[in-house]
Subunit: 370 residues, 2 copies
């Protein structure tokens, strides 16, 4: 029997709390379906810094490279705001993304009908919304050299005497591989890809546009491709988000646009994500799964967090990394059922009121619905 | 009597159409109030490229440097999509911004009550919304060197063999001056500034945060300052936009976030903007005014465009560049009156229907209401 290896990195803030609920789900599959998971757990982010003095230990990095999938909670928080840049919690996550070469970050913005009213947008604008943002995750301005803060003391015109630099650098190959990921995903969905950049003001945006077009023309002519400037993209996401199927964009634009898109749905506590790399020996991609939401320090430790985004991230792992398709379906259906039954964590409470369940209660209900 | 010099650059798409209506307003002030405007007109963007082979002629640039204010329509359009980067329509606008050193771009996101229902957001989320985004406009990744697309043929790992580069480079002085503009504006409004960057992943973002904080602590301790990561900023703009008063951010984030914010209001065809630089001999800042909307090639030439954003941009010029405060008020009131009377261009027509007025009719009504 196959053993599925999973590395759990709960991280900071609400990360550990929501991960406890995922553990319950894993336990259920082990006991009731006899599926063998080899689960290990380690630290990332501020939690790793507190223990190891850095946001990701080398041992943890090596472990992440050797498992079938990594499931991460969240990183960061105000307690770590004044740390030196090189040891910030976020650097742990960036190291995982970079060294595992997880170049395609899949961020669905999906509106769950029962929750459409939580959106600040009108119901008719968001109901049924189902966008997939594919964000390039291992290059661009997050990683380019040169970078840093330097003294500029010799420049008398520069009050303050410093200069801060980051470099956006994309190779054609980096653009092509994430474009392919987007086209492949579009084929299984609405068959449409919209690529976003600022080709009108940035040369790296021109390269982006040309290479995405090249992949389309040479390999995916049957998929509908359009291009949009990223500022217009932000507008259109607000105005009429359901015009989109798959959006492919770079690391920085993807960060901003996917957060805006996720918030549109009113379902932020519900949205999972997957970061995928090249296929491993087992034919499945290197993968890291994590909720779209952050570490939410304001509610951490209070049992208020919604564990669904993290549980659905595990469902994505079942599907994409462990090839346990029936189990992924089962888990997603259980989540739907619990929501249909009206079970709500605090983030899902509307103006009508009612009593929210705790993080643990939500996890229990989902396990009970399996 | 003072003569107020104004350079009009209609540009591309709907730019020329909306500018015709501004001309009517200027004519009214000249005839009925005896105000002396010295108006000249020239080309920018694609229109300039068509005539001069470049998107801004040197003579036009010199003229822009010598007038009290510049009023620009819009630049760009699909007809120019395949032009070489160096002569793209947008480069004309960027040259104006850069050489006039217009470092503070003021982009209001204001919801006109009569139009709140045009927003895709719920009325209660956007009604009364009044945010001012102050975007740094002369530096950052739009202008940093090195930049360009280069061959990377010697790198066998790079499929496609090219690399695209842009550089984000901010000096402390550049950050401080735009921060000061934001704090000054906040003092006349809600006294709150929120600064947005990605200090968790970009060193230029760390410098941004530190310098804005420095200006606050040393010069504006009485203004409330907060910091937010730009991705969270995008989320919060969608979730609860009225939490903001003044937002200050860099050139690229400002581009994306201000477009999203403008679209929130449902009033895109209504929003003016001002780009301000250092004070001139007359004590007033170098300034370029333009509508927030773009060249809207899809409706250009059809008499459908809403001229209000451009007319209100002229009202901003009356106020900030010509010091004609009563006249600015008068013009803004005329716009309000016409809207209250139910006059609507096509972009302002709701589901209830009705007959839209043309660009020219809207201009005429506003002049009649003066
Ligand atoms: C935590 C941070 C490094 C990260 C990013 O900016 O990529 C986060 O915002 C995200 O979108 O996953
Ligand atoms: C036209 C383009 C160069 C410009 C920009 O990106 O700055 C526009 O989008 C804007 O926001 O004024």
């Amino acid at each position: 029997m196959t053993t599925h290896s999973l590395l759990i990195l709960p991280g900071d803030g609400i990360g550990p709390e929501v991960m406890v609920e995922v553990r319950k789900v894993i336990g259920w599959f082990q006991s009731n379906r006899g599926i063998a998971f080899d689960v290990s757990e380690d630290l990332v982010g501020g939690a790793a810094y507190d223990k190891y003095g850095k946001p990701l230990a080398d041992e943890t990095m090596a472990k992440a490279q050797s498992v079938d999938a990594v499931l991460l909670g969240a990183v960061g928080g105000p307690a770590y705001d004044n740390l030196d840049f090189s040891v910030k919690p976020e650097r742990g996550l960036l190291r995982l993304r970079k060294e595992m070469d997880l170049y395609a970050n899949l961020r669905p913005a999906q509106c769950f009908d029962a929750l459409a009213d939580f959106s600040s947008l009108k119901r008719e604008v968001v109901a049924g919304l189902d966008i997939l943002i594919v964000r390039e995750l291992t290059s661009g301005i997050y990683f380019g050299e040169p970078r840093g803060i330097h003294s500029d003391d010799n420049n008398p015109e520069n009050e303050g005497g410093r200069v801060g630099i980051n470099t956006q650098r994309y190779t054609s190959g980096e653009i092509r591989r994430v474009a392919r990921a987007a086209f492949e995903l579009a084929k299984k969905r609405g068959n449409r890809v919209c690529s976003m950049e600022k080709a009108n003001v940035m040369e790296s945006g021109i390269l982006w546009r040309e290479e995405v077009q090249w992949v389309h023309d040479n390999e995916y002519p049957e998929v509908e491709l359009s291009h949009m400037y990223a500022d217009n993209g932000a507008m259109q996401l607000v105005r009429r988000p359901n015009q989109f199927d798959v959006i492919v964009t770079d690391n920085l634009f993807g960060d901003i646009l996917s957060d805006a898109a996720a918030m549109l749905t009113g379902s932020l506590g519900m949205l999972p994500s997957a970061s995928l790399g090249a296929p491993m020996a087992n034919g499945r991609p290197k993968a890291l799964y994590e909720p779209v939401h952050g570490s939410a320090p304001d509610i951490a430790g209070q049992g208020k967090a919604n564990p669904i985004a993290c549980i659905l991230s595990f469902a994505m792992a079942l599907r994409y990394s462990f090839n346990l398709l029936a189990e992924a379906d089962l888990l997603e259906k259980a989540v739907e059922k619990v929501l249909a039954d009206g079970v709500r964590t605090a983030d899902l409470m509307g103006a009508e009121g009612g009593t929210p369940v705790s993080t643990a209660e939500m996890g229990d209900k989902i396990v009970a619905a399996l």
